[in-house]
Amino acid sequence: MKSLFFTGKGGVGKSTLSSAFGYQLSQKGYKVLIVSLDPAHNLGDIFNTRLKNREIKFAENLFLAEVDLSKASKKYLKENTKVFEEVYGYLKVLNLDRYFNVLKYTPGMEENAALIEIERIFTEGIKYDFIVFDTPPTGITLRIMALPTITVNWLEQLIGIRKQILEKRYTIRHIRDGISTGDEKLVYNELDDTVIKKLYLMHEKYKKLDSMIKGENNTVSVVFNPDFLSLRESERLISSLDELGIPVRLAFNNKYDSCLSEDADKIEKQLFAGRSGIKNQRIGFADHKNSPGYSIPADLTEYYLQEY
């Protein structure tokens, strides 16, 4: 299973390109899933069908899904609430458990929810050859991409402190050598400490997600237009992804027009300065005489399939 993210400023044509890309892959006989994480939800419109959170089979080898982030974050919070309710189950007796509903209004949960969904899609999606993601606007995308790294780092810090705690407990026990002070039940072995075990488990989970996003099987592409507004945002996007250790490998200069070729050259030059690893493709109004209007090349996927 390989995956591909289409990122970029709103309106540059991410949905169009990701749909075309996915469709072309499926035409070549690969089993493909296209997932839209974009709240604008153009995917259904493009294929002229109604989509849901769960993937549906659209054609032979082509599956589609639309993740509704606000719904997903509600679901995520519900799970969260469930954990609380499980722990404090006795509150049911007093009907106090309903107060955990407050959690539903916790702000800023969309990224968490999106990540959980991506993880689910990754783990359930082994049956596909390719998963193509259409992403939400730049800000949210960056936060989603950053989350696994941040969480892994945070968990590593916590694990570090926990290890120190356990080591100190061991040292104290060792020095005390049987002098009772009442804290005999304190665990000092990593194997007995539920807390560190859980931390490791979560660490493993996020690490896996992190390496999936950063790994060889995942490709991040950036879609931009040959105008300077889109250039600025794309520059920021590429450098932010670089900082996260997620290199952009493909770029699509969408809505290119040959009469804009001077601008396009300048923009591409600026955008890819010092970045040799990005393969750029121009898409759009290629030649006014032969094929009028906007058209998508017959094969977008050639380079990608060759290299990755």
Partner: protein, 96 residues
Amino acid sequence: MKGIIRKIYRSVIFFISSLDQAHRMKAAEVTEYELRELENLFVLLLMGSFTGIPSPSSLVSAELIPHLGREIQLLNKRAEEAFDAFNEIAGTIGID
């Protein structure tokens, strides 16, 4: 006579074992204090909303809470006594 010897023997053993205990406790004392503060910090970091920084995943904290009884108790105690901690730390590390 035998009783007296046994009594002396017993008190000597008691003295030595007390001495040993006092030494062990002295050697562990500051580490114990450090441990408590580490445990306290651990929960404080875990409960992001306490420190004002939302932690990356509140699910992590939610799952760990049931296993952190002692640490949370410590957090409580520290919150209550933090303003009155000077003497304890002074007594622990000692200045005179």
